[in-house]
Every structure is written in C-alpha cells, then in structure tokens.
C-alpha cells in the first residue's frame, strides 16, 4: 500500500535577530491511511511546526530549508500558493486545541458547516445541509438537525470540539492534523473525543497526525509515535514498542517524569537536565555568606508548632456566591454558587490534595482562604483562631505572613518589571524579616540556592527565565515569608512533564524539611497521588468525598471519584487496550 504522507529529511528555519533558528531538523515520517501517528515532546520541541509545514502554513519569516513533503505521491512543496490553498481543506484538515476560538462565535453551526461544504463542492444548499446533519450525527451530536441552528457558545466544550471535528470532515479529507485536540478539555470529555478520533481513523481510513505533550494520550490511541526534542527526532516507531521498551534515554526520562496514578513515588528519578547549561561565571557569583544551609537554618529558626498539634486550617460550611449585575435597578441579583457548604481540614505537616475539574470551585476555595474572595457563609479557622474573612482581614493580620500561595501560571505570577531580588525581597521587607539591606540580599541569595537556582538569578528579570525556573522563584517568594501553611494552586499544570517532576520533587523536599502544611490543588489525579496525604474531591462547588489519600486511590467512595479515576489516561492503558 502506498504511504499517505511521507516527510523526508524536513527542516524548517526561522531567521531571528539572534541568527537563524532551526525549529525542526531532518524529520522523517510516514503515515498510512487509517493510521494515527503521535508527535510527542515538550514545549519548543517543534511538534506544531511539523503540522504547519505539512499544511504549508509556516508563519513568516520561517521557511522550509530542505526536505520533501509528499501526500499520496504528490510533492507538496512544488505546489504554488493557489493550488496549496485548494488542497488545504480539500485533502488536509486541521483540528485546533481550543474549540472556543476555532469556531466563529457570530455564525450558527449550520452556517459554518454548509459554507465549508459548498466552498469545496458544487452541492446545493439542501444537499450541503443534509451532509452537515450526517456529519454532526457521525461525530456524536444528538438531535443534530435541531442543534444545528445554535451558536457555538450554546455548546459545551466537548460538544464544540465535536463540531470542530465535523467541520474538519466536511471536505472528506485524507489527512487530519490534530494539534493538542484535548488539552483544553476535562478528562472525561478527553476520553470521548479520543475515542471519536480512533473511530474516524478506522471507519473512514483517515490518517491522523496527533500532536500532544501528554504521553498518556499517546499511549491511549496512537498506532505509531515520534518523540521529539529541540526539533530533532529522539525515537520513533510503533507506540507499543517505543513506550514499552524505550530505546532512547530521553524517552525513558520523559516516561519516568509522568506521574503514575497507581503508585506513589518518594521522588521522581532519572530526570534529564533540561535547563540550559549554565556557564561557570553564572554559578560562581555568590553573595557573601549566602548558602542553602543558611536559608534552611533561618527558615527553621522561626517559631513553629510541631507536627501532630491538630489541624492547621479548618474550613467549615463554606459558601461562596458570585453575583452578576442586577437584571434591573432594584431586582434581586442572580447569584452563582461557586462553593456550597464545603468543610475540610488540613493537618499540621500534612498535604491535602484538592481534586476537581474546571469550574469545580477549587481555585475559589484557595482565594477564600487567602482573603481574595469573601465567602457568603461559613467559617475558616487557622491555628485554632477564626480568620477574618475577605476584606475584614487587616493588612497586618499575622495570617498574611503565615499563609502563602504559589500560583498556577508562573508567567503572570511574577512582576515582569522587577528584578528577582526585589520580587523575593518584597515579603522580607514588608514583614520586617530582614533588618538591613545586606541581610536581605543574603537571604534572597540563600533561598535561591535552596530552590536550586544560581544566586546570580537575583540580578535578572523574570522574562529571562523558563517556566520551571520561574515557578522555583515563585516558590522561593512564598518561602521567605516563613509560612506555616502553603497553598499551591495547580503549581505544575502550565509546565512540561519533566519540569513538573522537578517542581514536585522540590515541593516534596521542602515539605519534608520544614514540615509545611500544604493545600495542593490540581485537576491531575496522578499529580495529587504523588503529593497528597489526604484528598478532597470537589465537583460543581460541592465536596464529593474526603479522606486519606491511600484509601481514596485504592477504593474511592463517591461515584464521581470512581469515574474520574477510570477516565484519567495513563501509561497503563497501553497494556489494557492492547492495540498498536
């Protein structure tokens, strides 16, 4: 059988002001009809660039430096812009990550589907409409004929992604490039969409290029896989073979970094050194007297109650209601209940993992505890004393220092216009923890050492660091306040898996050394499994179940928890489904 798609020795180069940058180099790839080929790698690996190169849509000023792209034996690089334009859509389609932005919000689904069909064929409106209905039914939208008249915002995230897939199918393409098609979706919906893609590949014989950073997704549905790093192929072959017996050390490291759902590790091991190599002057720059030992001695010197003193934090019957605008001047405002009578507690020196999908109210819980959001009812007790809620908490309240937070997005949680020294030094200055400027410098440098950053980092600005390094800086900022209680709101969900493993290791070490109590929020069950002593599950603002982590992962009580556990993709799927 002839190959559907072949890439031979493909390289893409972007000229930048720092000189030419090779985004991908010497990529070889073949795809059969009905095959799902996964491209996996961390950010910057060049996955999306390969997709763009096949589509002929490399953003200027990038260009294909060398290599060939053949579709069904036709040389795509020889096509002119007009012929390529006809080919796109007709034979190659694309599914994007965010169904929110890939549909036009001002047109109905019918308009968008019918227009696309008629663009590529000579069908009449009625014929096109019938076809659109058939496609929507095929992608699993019930009552397609009625729902077609609706606008994108009336569909849920998963349904919208189905519509996007139907749109991609409009022109009967031979090849679909799916760029992170499930990354923006919750796990339950992710599973359904992946099954749909599998079915389309099988029934219609469409070849899929599936781009993802998630090795779990690769294990679940792909037939073959290419592992990329820094624009180069590390390893490729049948999925079962590559993931089952990884030959390259990078693949092994990548897989070791994926948190496992069925096992709790003390530490992640075998992690590659992914940060850029530091030059010697970078490492030898030191502040006098600063060291990681100095930082840990200083942090331990703070008076701190010992473990086993009872719960650090208790939340009782917490309600949070968000109000919209009044429908009319004197009307009652519509309230949206983000949290409904949630009760939980964090024991001293323990980690409570809070699990929930998007919209479950987990971030609202964190905001209520730190006083950013005012609960409408309920009580929060910290170290035995009730915490004033919302704005009632004085700026000088001791809990402001004792409770610290690490945010989800390290790109927005650090002020880009301030040096790292100023960012980490701010809590020291504000809480009066360092007497002199020299003291402050010494502590900032020491804490940077503690979170495994070079001391010289204090002279730079946040934009000079990668996501993982920024998250270390954010952790350092939380630490210097000498907190008793740390809230981590999805601290690793914006990071690549290998970096995630490093940050989780760091948090585990710090927790063990300083006996911190942590509220660890995540949508990723496997990550929570690695971190938490106790677990609480939230769904639509309500507590589903809570209890010790081991017992939870062995035998979850609530129906919803069982469902969540079952739907989380994991490497174990590979052996369970047995395909590929």
């Amino acid at each position: 059988m002839e190959d559907l798609l072949t890439l031979r020795d493909l390289s893409v180069v972007y000229p930048t002001r720092f000189g030419p940058f090779t985004a991908i180099e010497g990529i070889n790839l073949t795809l059969q009809k009905g095959e799902i080929h996964g491209l996996v790698g961390e950010s910057g690996a060049g996955k999306s660039t390969i997709g763009a190169a096949i589509m002929g849509l490399i953003p200027a000023p990038g260009y294909i430096a060398q290599g060939q792209v053949h579709l069904d034996g036709m040389d795509l690089r020889a096509l002119d812009a007009k012929a390529y334009h006809k080919l796109r859509g007709a034979r190659i389609s694309m599914i994007f990550q965010d169904p929110q932005t890939s549909l036009n919000p001002l047109l109905t689904i019918e308009d968008q589907l019918v227009e696309t069909i008629r663009q590529h064929t000579d069908q009449t409106r009625t014929q096109a409409r019938d076809k659109a209905i058939a496609l929507l039914q095929e992608t699993g939208i019930h009552d397609a004929e009625a729902r077609m008249a609706e606008y994108p915002h009336q569909f849920s995230g998963g349904m919208r992604q189905r519509v996007v897939i139907a749109l991609a199918l409009c022109t009967e393409p031979d090849l679909i490039i799916a760029d992170e098609p499930t990354t923006a979706l919750d796990v339950a919906i992710q599973k359904q969409i992946l099954q749909l893609i599998r079915r389309l590949a099988k029934d219609r014989g469409i070849g899929f290029i599936l781009i993802t950073h998630d090795i779990g997704v690769i294990a679940e549905i792909t037939d073959s896989v290419t592992v990329l790093r820094g624009g180069k192929v590390m390893e490729h072959g049948q999925t079962a073979q590559v993931l089952g017996r990884p030959a390259h050390s990078y693949t092994r490291a990548l897989m070791a970094a994926v948190p496992l759902l069925d096992k709790r590790l003390v530490r992640f091991t075998n992690i590659m050194d992914s940060e850029p190599k530091l030059s010697a002057p970078e490492l030898s720059w030191k502040v006098a007297g600063a060291s990681a030992e100095y930082a840990s001695d200083w942090l331990l010197a703070g008076d701190r109650a010992q473990a086993g003193d009872g719960p650090v934090l208790q939340v009782r019957d917490l309600d949070v209601t968000f109000y919209g605008n009044r429908p009319f001047a004197f009307g009652a405002r519509d309230g949206f209940k983000a949290l409904q009578s949630v009760s939980l507690q964090v024991d001293r020196g323990k980690v409570l993992g809070v699990i929930g999908e998007s919209g479950s109210g987990k971030s609202t819980l964190a905001k209520a505890i730190v006083g950013l959001v005012r609960p409408s009812a309920g009580e929060i007790t910290f170290e035995g004393a009730p915490l004033p809620l919302g704005r009632d908490r004085a700026r000088t309240h001791p809990a402001r220092r004792k409770i610290q937070m690490v945010f989800q997005d390290p790109y927005s949680s650090l002020n880009n216009r301030r040096r790292i020294e100023q960012i980490i030094g701010e809590p020291l200055r504000f809480f009066g923890l360092a007497k002199t400027r020299a003291d402050r410098r010494r502590l900032v440098a020491s804490v940077l050492d503690l979170v495994e950053m070079p001391q010289r980092a204090m002279l730079k600005y946040p934009h000079q660091f990668s996501g993982g390094q920024r998250q270390r800086i954010a952790v350092a900022r939380a630490l210097v306040a000498r907190p008793e209680f740390l809230i981590c709101d999805e601290p690793t969900s914006a990071l690549d898996v290998s970096i995630q493993a490093q940050i989780l290791n760091l948090l585990k070490d710090l927790q063990a050394t300083f006996g911190l109590s942590i509220l660890f929020i995540s949508h990723n069950l496997a990550v929570v499994r690695q971190m938490a002593d106790d677990v609480a599950v939230l769904r639509r603002g309500q507590l589903q179940e809570s209890g010790p982590a081991e017992a939870f992962f062995e035998a979850p009580q609530a129906e919803y928890s069982r469902q969540l556990l079952a739907e989380t993709p994991s490497l174990a799927m590979l052996s369970a489904t047995g395909h590929g």
Binding site: R17, F18, V370, G371, L372, R393, A394, R395, T396, H397, R400, R401, I403, Q404, M405, F407, Q408, D409, S412, S413, L414, N415, N416, R417, R418, E426, P427, F430, F431, R477, A481
Partner: protein
Amino acid sequence: MLTWWRRVRVENEMLYLFLRRPVAQLAALAAFLSIMGALFAPLITPSNPYDLASFDILDSFLPPAWSDGGDPRFIIGTDDQGRDLYSSILYGTRLSLLIGLCSVAFAAVLGTALGVAAGYFGGRFDAVVMRIADVQLSLPAILTALLVDGVARGLLPRQQHEELLLVVLTVAIALSLWVDFARTARASTFVERNKEYVQAAEIMGLHPIRIMAVAILPNILGPLMVIGTVDLAVAILLEATLSFLGVGVPADQPSLGTLIDTGKDYMFSGEWWIVIFPAAMLISMIIAVNLLGDFFRAVLNPRLR
C-alpha cells in the same frame, strides 16, 4: 566598544527594530533637530526676537536672502515688525515645545493617577472618574482651553494674567488631554489587576498605593508612552491653534501659532515666507512626533508588527 554595540544592537529589541526602520530614524532625526534648535536657540540665532531693541521696523517684509531684495542678514526674511524670521521660528519652537511638554507631563500625571486608581478600585470611584472623563471628552479641546483661559482672565488682574499666561495655557491644554491617559491607564490596569502577581501582593497585605505604584504602574507604561508621544503632537498643535486664535501666548513672545497668524494676513500680498516657514516647521515637527508615536506603538504591541 564595537562588540558591545554589536551585542546591544541585537539584544535590545527596540534598538533592533529602530535600526531597521528608516522612517522612524528620519522622524527621530527631525524631532532631535527641532529639540536641539529650540534648546540652543539663543546660541545659534543672530537676534533675539523678544528684545524690542534688536529689530528695526525699517527691515520689515524683507524676502529670503536668496531672492531679489533679500538681505544677507536675514536668511529667510523678516516679518511685518522687521524681526528675523529664522530667529523667531527657533524661539517660537522653543515656546511651543515647552508648553507642549509641560502640559503633556501635567496631563500624564493627573490622568494616569486617576486612571490607575479607577481601574484598581473599580466601583463608585471608577464610575465617578470615568463620567467626568466622558463630560471632558464631549467638550472639544479648544473649547476647554478657551474656557480655562476665559475663567483665568476673569479671576486674575490684567497684569498678573499677562505674567501667568503661559501657565494658564499649559493648564488649559493639560485639562483637555488628561482623559486619554486616564482611559488608557484604566483599561490597562483592568488587565493587570487580575494577574497573579497583583494577587500575590494583595495576599501579602501590601498597601494599595504601593501595589499601584510598584506593581501595576511599571507594567502599563508601554501604552502610556504611546499616548504621551501622540498627545505631545496634539498639545503643540493645540497651542498653535490657541495662539492663532489670539488667546495663546502674549504677542511680544511669538510662538509658531502667532507667527502663522500674522503671516496669513500677508499671504496673498506676496509676502509668502512669513506664513510658509513657520507652518513648515510646525508640520514637520508634528509629523515627526506622530511617526515616533507610531513606531513606539508598533514596537510595544507585537500584534501590529
């Protein structure tokens, strides 16, 4: 030095883009020349047009030096009073730039402070400030300036008003420009205030003023800088307009606006140079500043690149 330059040229994004845009370079050169000319006017001009003793009515209406009847002492001719036009233009530019910069600085401080506070606190404070801004916006800038000038004329004794004329003019122009800064600052603050670094500062319990000044303000300077350059052009133009209308600078201190005003009377009687040269100076200065503003906007907003 050379290696330093080579490194900086690539690493500094703004410089890198600047070196690739001849239009921006030309605009910067024109702006630089105007500022230098204005700054060093007393050193590079033959006479002081503000000094009544330095010019002679007998020299009036002399054409540029290169045309028939021109006098080599007056390169581009003289005006109806016999003042050297070249000196008048440089002194006028000096006055225009001074008023422009002062009023933009005043408007920037007032507008940014109100805008950031409105964006940060929201609610009633925001509503009140922005409604005032809306009212301000519905009055044409010239009307505001005329109004302020009129009120000042009524309140101050005639002698004092003459002395304070420049201050009144600056305040009048600033009052019609602050809204631009307030709106931009408010919109940018809205975006920044929900970012996590601001939340981190709030959790710590930092004072709102420190959060606004240290956390938010440095992050919104980009768009404000664009507004600043664009408004500088507007301020200079507004000053020229007011002077042209006769409510601007005093008659014995010619600004570009007053020069154009006097020149227009003689435009059709053959003395074209009195209006053409000041007008050309004004136009090239405004265009240069506007092009610089465009350049900043393009650099600071990657989507326009």
